[in-house]
């Protein structure tokens, strides 16, 4: 019953998006010609796929790029400006000018700038734009994926909580039966052993949210069609924010002993204490930094490998390579499915470990 309503709601959500915004189909005959003549560039393809974008690229059909436009939200000199990314007409070269509120915007390599006097981009010697740019709070592909993941989490876990009420507050029914082992896994295998029986409860909501958000984010990246395929977790900014939150929680949970261990390590001679303090201080920052890089690198690497395998077909220019590519890519995809869960586990586990170190009460004195 709950599963049914969940599916209905999810469908409704998708329908809302698709019906309100609609797909923008753009003809790019000129680009198409250029593309076919151009040498196939695997690096560019891969980089394009793993980078954030202002629109959600769905498919290319007969050279027509079908994209799902996403809102562009700019904080400009004259205040807030919003428009759909489709107004750029897929231009990413700084040629198409969008005029809003008396301001002209151009887009170059997914960065939106104020257009210069001539309605274009001024490039410096290093081929970087010299134009000023407004603050960009656009709902990009990754932000969209983040919304989707967050919505899915609410749709999964609020019914899960309700399912306990139906089971007399004791046994979950329906979706709860499915989710409970995962929640208990986070509690019994991540939070309890690392933070400790006494203090783990306060950190459970954070650990659960992080675990499932990263896991769902990872899995979305493995689903190769709209509205998924946007990978939250291969964006270093997302993993960075996650790591930063873990960092902040860790520091604010730190007790006297935690700081004592950092600035005045007990049990070693004084000169060593002085040497250890800066090392430990750097350690505070390297731990979440490693968290950020680990998740980002693992997920990105998986995507690059899969994309590279498919690129082989175009590099060799023959369809005969495709069985090999598809076979390996399938294997990689299955492996990535494991990595998706594993990295979510590792991130949560290490977060719990760091928090555990910060709140630990040592017995040796």
């Amino acid at each position: 019953m709950i599963a049914k309503t969940t599916i209905k709601r999810t469908l409704l959500l998708f329908l809302m998006f698709t019906s309100i915004l609609g797909f923008s189909q753009e003809h790019h005959e000129a680009e198409k010609k250029a593309d076919t003549e151009e040498e196939f560039d695997a690096t560019e393809l891969i980089m394009h796929h793993i980078s954030d974008a202002h629109e959600f690229h769905v498919a290319d059909i007969n050279g027509e790029s079908i994209s799902f436009p996403l809102p562009v939200i700019l904080w400009t000199d004259n205040g807030l400006v919003t428009f759909m990314s489709s107004e750029f007409h897929h231009d990413n070269t700084g040629e198409h000018v969008v005029e809003k509120n008396g301001m002209k915007f151009v887009r170059l390599h997914e960065e939106i700038y104020y257009a210069n006097k001539h309605g274009g981009i001024t490039l410096n010697e290093e081929h970087h734009a010299e134009n000023r740019r407004p603050l960009n709070f656009s709902i990009t592909k990754n932000v969209f994926s983040l919304f989707l993941a967050a919505a899915l989490m609410l749709l999964i876990f609020i019914p899960t909580a309700r399912s306990y009420k139906k089971g007399n507050g004791v046994m979950p029914k329906g979706i709860g039966r499915f989710m409970e082992p995962l929640i208990l896994f986070v509690r019994d295998d991540i939070a309890k052993p690392n933070i400790g029986e006494k203090k783990y409860k306060a950190y459970m909501p954070y650990l659960l949210t992080v675990f499932f958000l990263i896991w769902i984010g990872n899995i979305f990246g493995l689903i190769p069609f709209f509205p998924f395929s946007g990978t939250l977790t291969n964006d270093i900014l997302f993993t960075g924010v996650m790591a930063a939150i873990t960092f902040l929680i860790t520091q604010f949970s730190g007790n006297k002993e935690y700081w004592g261990h950092i600035f005045w390590m007990p049990g070693i001679p004084v000169p060593m204490k002085i040497i250890m303090a800066p090392i430990e201080l750097i350690g505070i920052f390297t731990k979440p930094f490693a968290l950020m890089i680990r998740l980002f690198a693992n997920i990105t690497a998986g995507h690059i490998i899969i994309l590279s395998l498919f690129s082989l077909i175009f590099i060799f220019g023959t369809a005969w390579v495709s069985p090999v590519s598809v076979g390996f890519a399938l294997f990689m995809n299955v492996l990535e499915l494991l990595v998706a869960a594993l990295q979510a586990y590792v991130f949560t586990l290490l977060s719990a470990l760091f928090i555990g170190q910060a709140v630990a009460e040592h017995d040796h004195h």
Partner: protein, 163 residues
């Protein structure tokens, strides 16, 4: 990959994460975890109660066995006592019978003795009487015929045998 307009994803990640965290904590994690905790404590209580009941059962059984053993011991003791009493009664009875028998025998003997004595006395009296009669007759005969009298006396004396 190029990092473009980092502010957008950072901004939205922070917003979405915080909102998601607050919503999930209130509407999902807390109810779920408290329900699970409730259930676990209930299970623990039930197990504890079952353990207690089992212990009580065992205690009861032990008590029962103890009582049974006590009853058995009591019964054995009672039987033993009864046997002893029986033996004693029999012994007493035997003794009493023996004493009484002996007494009766003694009495009988004494009676016989006394009977005998009285019989002897009676006999003596009888003998005396007979002797007196004989003497009377002898005296009467003597008075008539001395020789005959003597003969008579002798004859009579012969007749009277002293058993």
């Amino acid at each position: 990959m190029n990092i473009t307009h980092p502010e957008s994803l950072i901004f939205w990640t922070v917003i979405v994460f915080v909102v998601l965290f607050i919503l999930l904590r209130k509407f999902a994690w807390k109810p779920i975890l408290s329900a699970v905790n409730n259930r676990e404590s209930k299970i623990e209580e039930a197990l504890e109660a079952a353990k207690k009941a089992r212990e009580e059962m065992e205690n009861l059984q032990a008590d029962n066995e103890k009582m049974l053993a006590e009853a058995r011991a009591e019964r054995d003791a009672m039987l033993k006592e009864a046997r002893e009493i029986k033996d004693k009664i029999i012994a007493d009875a035997k003794e009493a019978a023996a004493t009484q028998g002996a007494a009766i025998l003694e009495q009988a003997k004494a009676e016989i003795e006394s009977e005998k004595k009285s019989a002897l006395v009676e006999l003596k009296t009888e003998v005396a009487n007979i002797s007196l009669e004989i003497a009377q007759k002898v005296v009467k005969e003597e008075l008539s015929d001395e020789a005959k009298q003597l003969k008579q006396v002798e004859k009579m004396l012969n007749e009277v045998t002293l058993n």
